[in-house]
Amino acid sequence: MAVRLPRTEVVVVGLGGAGGVAVEPLTAAGRNVIGLEAGTRLAPKDFAPDELRNNFRGWPQAAQKANREIPVHRASSQAPDDPRAAIHPMMNGVGGTTLHYWAQSWRLSPWDFRVASETKRRYGAKRIPPRSTVEDWPFGLEELEAYYDKVEYALGVSGQAGNVQGVIDPRGNIFEGPRAREYPMPPLRGTEFTDLMGAAARRLGWHPFPGPAAINSQAYQNRSQCMYHGYCSRGGCHVSAKNSTAVSTIPRAEATGKLEIVTSAHVTSIDVDGDGRASGVQYVKDGETYIQPAAVVLLGCYTYENTRLLLLSDSKRFPNGLANNRGQVGKHYMSHNQGATVNALFPHKLNRWYGLPAQGVGVDEWADDNFDHGALDFIGGGNLWVYSDQRPIAAAGMPTFGRAPRWGAEWKAFVADNADRWTTSYLQKTTLPYAENYLDLHPSVKDPLGYRVCRVTADHKDNERRIASFIQDKMEQWFREAGAVATLRGPIGTMGVTTHAYGGTRMGDDPATNVVDRYGFAHEVPNLGVLGASVMGTSGARNPTLTAQALAWRTAEHLAANWSKIAG
């Protein structure tokens, strides 16, 4: 027998990067919020600098809800399932994956909001790749700018502005859209190696810049500055200098007394009433089932789980899953085109043992529509990023650039000499949505509670492959200019389960092609909001989290400002 709990005003499903942001404006407006989080609370003592545990054994995901429902990927509807990943890419916990992410906190470029219309205007409609379902966002960067600004200051983002109210500052990214003001903190410091890369980029006539990060370059909100210890990637911060929602927005929401958090709560359905409005959610905690009625439901899980929970929540009114009477849930899926990397070998030590992935140097010359695609055979591009971050197991697993075998005496001599003379690069490239790339429920693979897991059907298309090859050329050119003696291109791979997953509940004005409206509320279920990158209609060429957070703040603020209309 399920336990029926007292009704609340807002229930937020998932207190990660997006849900953890939404609770601040909601509680500040006086709304009563219950936050249901599948994970537990983690603290600095849990964040040991332990590469094996964090980067190879996937702790803490390995012991969490997410890991019991890892999506299954296949390249196409005709292809067999790939072997299932051993570890879910995201983690549960109060703060979610913002606890251990790279914290790169980018704004999208103005082009990302208008890919369809800008491509038509500049190159003609035929240049939009066949079968792509890309649409313009329902608004441009100018609408989201105020929310980017709010979350940059609420969380704490370090960076160098490149465009303040139209005034270009060449120390920052000259291609970024205009912002109202500077970042709340100066950028993270560079290293001698990232400076060397920056100088090489300038010799090529490019405009390198330090990237933005939700990591303290100096003390912020009474939290420490970054210690650059080298265990930031998939590791939580031991001094709380990484500005996860667990140390910023969530504690402030809790301090209002308006946010009640329930951890280890595994939400299994969103329920509807006779009018087709969301009536609340059901969840399982410690083997007991609870019904949590609410006036408004905000779904703030990861992209895969947002789609999955909607599809699992079928009812008489929504026989194909909640908010899916037009068949759009799971559509317009994208994962970031971030394979096809380039590694480089240098003739001297680089000292990448310390630092963090966000301590680096970026180039946007070849991103988005920052260059003329008239004579090219693709649209979009990629951000080039080189950074200071390496740990011992990964260093020993370095590529040998065709100069040594992969084991044995010769290999050992090679890594002894070269483990600190190589680097990789992080190349985030445009991915467009296509009719063939989508999420649904797997027909047979289930979690231990008996619910079907998410199935990912997706693969890179010609446009993405051409971008990848073009960007690898640019990255090789950059490394060679910086003095690399060898470069090595990696394969593009397929679009497997990833930390950068978009779509499935796309945002747009047309209910025939979008699940949520311009404020993030379902066209078919007006008191159901969706938070996270699942609402994004384009990927951009940079990490999604800040955009998901700006959208979450905007959805929450819209709800607070239109409470009686939405809550009914």
């Binding site: 537990t40 600095p44 003592k45 040991a48 545990r53 210690m227 000292n351 011992p392 020993a396």
Partner: protein, 214 residues
């Protein structure tokens, strides 16, 4: 801790004297070792012979066997790598069968060149009798050998920080200054495990839940 330091000191002296290459690997492995926990003694012996070829000891430095990579794998097969336990049993048996078929002796009894040739058969997936395939087993063992040689010594490998010494990792620093990130920085070596630092919890389970409060 005392034992580790004295061993390390011994290794250092041996290295200075140019001795390491002359000491048979088994001497390191057999000194005061506990019995294998998850592998049989015979399986352990085969695995030791494999890791000793993947990252061999030589005049320049000790290798994976001395770092305890086989011991790391044995221990992990009882917890984090339990899913691979059966794969090791089958793979180690298949390797011995392959060695007997090719040379008439178990793998561990062969000389280094023969062992290397057989391991290349696995790597190139031409050795028979492995399921799903010889190269899959080879990659599994190679990956775990890297873990056992270069991971935090908390997990039983990287003894005496042999792995970190090999690649020149300066060690754990909880706060790193700008000068310590210079390309030519000569950072003093720090040789501690993360769990030697009192602020970190060894537990790999999550902390307590929030109570329902109603």
């Amino acid at each position: 801790m005392k034992r580790k330091l004295s061993r390390r000191e011994m290794l250092k002296r041996a290295a200075v004297a140019g001795m390491i290459g002359a000491v048979p690997p088994q001497v390191f492995a057999q000194r005061g070792e506990e019995p294998y926990k998850n592998l049989s003694a015979a399986e352990g012996r085969t695995l030791e012979a494999i890791v000793a070829r993947l990252i061999p000891s030589d005049a320049r430095s000790p290798g994976a066997l001395e770092a305890g990579a086989a011991r790391y794998i044995d221990r992990a097969l009882g917890d984090a790598l339990a899913a691979s336990r059966a794969v090791y049993t089958a793979g180690l048996a298949a390797l011995d069968a392959h060695a007997r078929g090719a040379v008439g002796k178990p793998f561990a009894d062969l000389d280094a060149d023969r062992q290397d040739a057989l391991l290349r058969d696995l790597e190139q997936n031409v050795a028979k009798g492995f399921a799903p395939g010889a190269s899959a087993f080879f990659e599994l063992v190679l990956g775990h050998t890297l873990e056992g040689t270069f991971s935090d010594p908390h997990y039983g490998g990287n003894r005496d920080f042999i792995g970190w010494e090999l690649i020149g990792y300066p060690g754990l620093r909880l706060a790193v200054l700008a000068d310590e990130q210079r390309m030519d920085a000569k950072n003093p070596l720090v040789r501690v495990s993360a769990y030697d630092l009192p602020m970190f919890d060894k537990s790999t389970d999550g902390p307590e839940d929030d109570h329902h409060g109603r």
